[in-house]
Symmetry: C2
Subunit: 314 residues, 2 copies
């Protein structure tokens, strides 16, 4: 595998599809995964182990996971809301279990129907399950902190709370912490404050950033997180995602625009920008009514564009 | 006037409208200017003194300027491509003459049909004209450097060339220099490199930033420029502008999203975000077919949003 400076992770198959009313055929999901892996994306959150009754889009979670695991060089991740989800992932041999809880109490109650302390307890149980599982390589367990930069119920979220739950998940045995701006409230100043505080406490545990572009600040927040030393970013192709309560609102930061910005900054992502842009047609053809964002797709690369690897060589 | 930390300047009436095929009625332009001034925007580039034969959108440049000058508290600016444009502006008593030349030779030849040295000579003449004009308060003369962060004909533009022409315009008597990413090629690393170099040479002359969001990096570039000390930014309401060669491509950075990001960062702009968002309907009603961008307009302000002034007070 080639050297990269920043790891970009596709979360569109989970965060992008979970609110979309139309089922994306399993074959199309796999085509998306395979094409994006071929474009150089090395980690994809392929599905969510929530009950299909809650989110029918993930009724094929088992098949998607199995077939994604066949893609060489890909780190296959899946979201788990609780230990029951972890059981499914461990049985499948998924590489990464992306556990999620919210830093704000109200959002955690609404989203996973429990107190934050119960989420932490469940997380400990998941780490224990993974450690005692015998077969195959141990899955990595990721502690995701939703609403870490603002909550649609509570507004601003205290930095101290983000640090508190990050420390609790780290102490429980997380292999990585993800700090998420679930509702797109963050600005660069806030990003620097929160990430500096969390990273100072957790170092050397990897801390990743999950930003939404709901209010246009997504890539500015990436630049701020980069300055803090963050080198792992979630994004979704074409910015799929959005918010069920804000029609037309942008979703996750746009993977294609993220890769362009990083590459242009001289940071190698390992992703071939032209190949990545071509993957958009797979999504568009499968889900013609899904709203797709992205500035690079409309404008194209700058003239005589110099890729990050070539900048290094020059 | 209340204290502000950052000056945001509306350029949509010029940069946003100049490529739009439909004429915006003069009364609607004035309504836009008045409403945005009432929302707290203190500086607007209201028109361009190019020959109306070249851009019919600006056939009403004289009337728009005169009526904009009636708006109390507003700094009225207009683009001038050459000394003939400056004559018109001086006769009207406009506050700011925004001269523009391109750092890249090819773009300057295509855009204003002359060598860069001829542009600099013309700029000297304009400064002289302004200084010798007797009536009223002397207009400020702004030296704008287009394609300073990339050129759609030449690709990357040497930083040394940006510094060179910035110094020449400063030496000629510019009151301010505007560094422009005309075609939206810039990334935050490049922004830091170029603005640091220019500002180190020009200090204490004000240096402003004019970014386009063509490839999604606009607000990230603003954040990078802020770190360099830039405190003057051009933007257009709803990101009007675009590029005639890239259908659907974004134009200038979105004024509404810019003001939100700055305000959220605790930087006072003097702009009332809700009032600013309401101005969009004036543009939409006058030009129903113009493409309007903007994330804040779709998503709304965060819950319990705390304004920059209130952050200071708290």
């Amino acid at each position: 595998m080639q050297a990269v400076d920043v790891i970009v992770r596709e979360v569109g198959l989970r965060d992008g599809l979970q609110i979309h009313p139309t089922f994306m055929p399993t074959d199309r999901k796999i085509a998306w995964i395979e094409a994006e892996a071929a474009a150089g994306v090395t980690e994809i959150e392929v599905t969510s182990y929530v009950p299909p009754k809650l989110i029918p889009q993930f009724v094929d979670a088992e098949e998607v996971t199995r077939r994604a695991l066949d893609v060489r060089s890909l780190t296959v991740a899946a979201l788990i809301p609780n230990s029951r989800g972890a059981e499914r992932g461990i049985a499948l041999g998924v590489h990464k279990l992306n556990f999620v809880m919210s830093v704000s109490r109200t959002h955690n109650l609404k989203n996973v129907r429990r107190e934050r302390e119960e989420s932490v307890t469940d997380f400990k149980k998941i780490v224990e399950m993974v450690r005692t599982h015998r077969a195959g390589e141990r899955a990595k367990v990721v502690g995701g902190l939703s609403t870490a930069l603002g909550c649609s119920y509570e507004g601003r979220v205290p930095v101290a709370d983000v640090v508190k739950y990050a420390l609790q998940l780290a102490a429980a045995g997380a292999d990585e912490i993800v700090v998420a701006d679930t509702v797109g409230y963050a600005d660069p100043v806030q990003v620097r404050t929160v990430f500096k505080a969390v990273m100072a406490e957790l170092d050397p545990l990897p801390v990743a950033a999950h930003f939404h572009d709901t209010r246009g600040t997504g890539l500015a927040n990436v630049a701020a997180a980069l300055e803090c030393g963050v080198r792992r970013f979630d994004a979704s192709l074409a910015g799929l995602g959005g918010c069920p309560f804000a029609p037309g609102a942008s979703g996750n930061i746009v993977m294609d625009d993220l890769c362009f910005m990083l590459d242009s900054m001289g940071l190698r992502t390992g992703v071939d920008l032209e190949k990545l842009l071509q993957v958009r047609s797979i999504v568009h053809e499968a889900l013609p009514d899904i709203e797709m964002h992205g500035a690079l797709a409309r404008a194209g690369l700058p003239r005589n564009y110099v890729r990050a690897g070539e900048q290094r060589a020059a």
